[in-house]
């Protein structure tokens, strides 16, 4: 599973991208966010306010209950501000 962080989530976690292999019980976006928080204080800080975070699974916007599985590309980022 490839996990990407953008904008201030990248700054807080200190990584742009990581290849991870979470345990089988990590089945949804919400599960993954909880599991990632244990990777360190930077991750915990970045993922603390779930309201402020948008998620994409395989480059499609996803909700907390959506499934994640091995091989997926999961991205965490703030609400977008382009244009």
């Amino acid at each position: 599973m490839k996990v990407l962080y953008f904008a201030w989530l990248k700054a807080k976690t200190g990584v742009a991208e990581e290849d991870l292999d979470p345990p089988a019980e990590v089945a949804t976006v919400a599960d993954l966010m909880e599991w990632l928080k244990d990777r360190g204080p930077g991750h915990a800080d970045a993922l603390a306010n779930t309201q402020a975070i948008r998620v994409a699974v395989n480059q499609e916007y996803a909700a907390p209950g959506d499934a994640v599985k091995a091989g997926d590309e999961i991205a965490f980022f703030p609400p977008v501000t382009g244009g």
């Binding site: 953008f6 904008a7 994409a56 480059q59 980022f77 609400p79 977008v80 501000t81 382009g82 244009g83």
Partner: protein, 157 residues
Amino acid sequence: MIRVQRSDFDPGAEISALTQGRHDVGALTVFVGLVRDMAGEQRISSMELEHYPGMTEKMLERIEAEARERWALNDTLIVHRYGPLAPGERIVLVACTSTHRAASFEACEFLIDWLKTKAPFWKKEHGPDGDAHWVEARGSDDAAAARWNRKPGDAAE
């Protein structure tokens, strides 16, 4: 067509490409977004535009396809830059051609409204003292985008 690029673009050349040699275009509407040196009360000395390569293109293509389904358009174009940008620089160009002006205006406004709330770009503003912050999404942009949401049962336009 959509393009995501670090380099600047030439609005005149982009417009020409959409209309040159065509006799079926009656209306062209173009929007260009530029970097200002002020954000509210705050002085901006430069900006960094981050994006999510891959997903950005996918979203822009989808937004463009949606516009072409909703309005009778000859052509659409979205050009969006990323990377470092100084005040006065162009960020984005959106253009629509149609036989009639109402469609070209509406589609152009739709494209920029949806782009602003759906395309994965993030702006970081740098102040004159080296201070920097990530721009926060604005409720007014969400409201502008929501104007175009279809209610269930809406007929195709």
